[in-house]
């Protein structure tokens, strides 16, 4: 459903994405791994129309992603995003954060949206934190609210931009657990992550990016256990055995 075709993007003279193409099928979970500065977050942000790209096409079921075009709103309702730094609205409670999209973007009656939001907060294990403000939640809880907020848009796909990178280690598991559950329910997911365990166990496919190109891709097990490219091998060695 997501089709990325020969994307190029530069900031000034620095080309950060140098021709990336891949497709994501409905229900597929694709993990994008790679060193920082490889362009993996940028490509995700391009898919959500948060960044422009100079060349190539990103298509969501045939509709081109163009941040300047009105169609972007409809695309974003179909493809949600979860951010590294959660980006919850601090002036609204957990349940209000989740209700915001259904009520104000989808035009759902408040009572119905509240019910929906409550069910998603239950699902991510925060049924008892509905009326808490983000400031009173841990990072892991905030990220789970953010996932509920993305789910409440009832999207066809969710993009995760390093969802656990800003978390204390002991909080990572809860968030990954929720993501695994969402994946198992058939959600299409593109996940930029440094969590190799998650990639190995949950992803259908892994893309390894470096220097703005896809260096290697394939089924998660193959790429992570038996990488063919030298650069993939050395990256994985560094990530898996940092000492």
């Amino acid at each position: 459903m997501i089709s990325v075709r020969d994307i190029h993007k530069s900031y000034g003279s620095a080309e950060v994405i140098r021709g990336i193409s891949f497709d994501v099928e409905p229900g597929e979970v694709v993990c994008i791994i790679g060193p920082s500065g490889s362009g993996k977050s940028t490509i995700l942000r391009c898919i959500n129309g948060l960044e422009t790209y100079q060349k190539g096409d990103i298509l969501i079921d045939g509709t081109r992603v163009d941040p300047e075009d009105k169609s972007i709103k409809a695309i974003r309702q179909r493809v949600s995003m979860v951010f590294q730094r959660f980006n919850l609205f601090p002036h609204r409670t957990a349940i209000e954060n989740v209700m915001e999209g259904p009520v104000y973007v989808m035009g759902m009656p408040r009572a119905k949206a509240r019910e929906l939001a409550a069910s998603y907060l239950d699902k991510v294990g925060l049924g008892d934190k509905m009326d808490s403000y983000p400031d009173n939640l841990s990072g892991g809880q905030q990220q789970r609210v953010a996932i509920a907020r993305a789910l409440a848009m009832q999207p066809e796909a969710i993009l995760f931009d390093e969802p656990t990178s800003a978390l204390d280690p002991e909080l990572v598991g809860d968030v990954l657990g929720v993501m695994r559950q969402v994946a198992e329910e058939g959600m299409t997911m593109v996940v930029v992550t440094h969590e190799m365990g998650f990639a190995r166990e949950v992803a259908d496919r892994v893309l390894f990016l470096e220097g703005g190109v896809i260096v290697e891709q394939g089924p998660a097990g193959e790429v992570l256990r038996n990488p063919q490219e030298l650069r993939t091998q050395s990256f994985l060695k560094r990530v898996l055995n940092p000492l």
Binding site: L50, K73, S80, N87, F89, R149
Partner: protein, 217 residues
């Protein structure tokens, strides 16, 4: 001393008439400046370069001209191009426009303080720019802008005395008139100063409360 008090109580009714005008000018120009200031701030936030330029230019020009000159311009020059206003109207509009530039800067600071990530999150759930403004940015920007807003209110109360120069019969003007006819400058202007202080005190208290309440965000 008792003689001075007797004179003061003779002036007081006239000065109090001026107080009501001062309060009216302050409240009305506060309203004008708030609405207009918010308008400039939002205009400056839009993605349309022309709008941003208009907002920036207006703010720069207005901030670069003394308020008293702006008042003269509105009251004495505008009639030449067929726009006639009473002194009171000119005072309110002049103060409102002059202060809208400061209000705009105040609101702009509030708007810019909102983390970019929140705006992206709002975009990612399909919100339009106007919805983001209304639901995400403004509610938080108001909170941030509130303490400086309190200070602006105090400044406007005091600067409302400027409209005395275009014959609006507010507190300062009434004081001048009494002083001119009695030569009792000491009593009159002491009284005027005390009355301003009495009006400013509750506002100062309010501003301090706002600051304390919203300091931690």
């Amino acid at each position: 001393m008792s003689e001075a008090l007797a004179r003061a109580s003779a002036y007081l009714p006239v000065l109090l008439e001026g107080v009501w005008v001062t309060i009216a000018v302050t409240v009305l120009s506060l309203l004008v400046s708030t609405v207009l200031g918010l308008f400039w701030a939002i205009l400056g936030w839009t993605k349309v370069p022309a709008f941003r330029a208009i907002s920036r230019t207006f703010i720069t020009v207005i901030r670069g001209i003394p308020i008293i000159v702006q008042l003269f311009y509105i009251y004495f020059v505008m009639p030449d191009i067929g726009i006639n206003m009473t002194a009171f109207q000119a005072g309110v509009i002049g103060m409102g426009i002059a202060y809208s530039a400061y209000q705009a800067e105040n609101f702009r600071a509030g708007i810019e303080a909102i983390d970019r990530g929140q705006i992206e999150a709002a975009q990612s759930i399909g919100m339009s720019d106007s919805l983001i403004m209304r639901r995400v940015i403004l509610p938080q920007a108001f909170r941030i802008a509130l303490p400086p807003y309190g200070n602006t209110m105090i400044m406007m109360l005091k600067d409302s005395s400027l409209v005395s120069t275009i014959t609006v019969a507010e507190l300062t003007r009434q004081g001048q008139l009494i002083a001119a006819s009695t030569f009792d400058n000491m009593t009159v202007f002491t009284l005027v100063a005390i009355i301003y202080l009495i009006m400013a005190l509750p506002l100062t208290y309010l501003a301090r409360q706002l600051e304390r309440r919203y300091k931690k965000t």
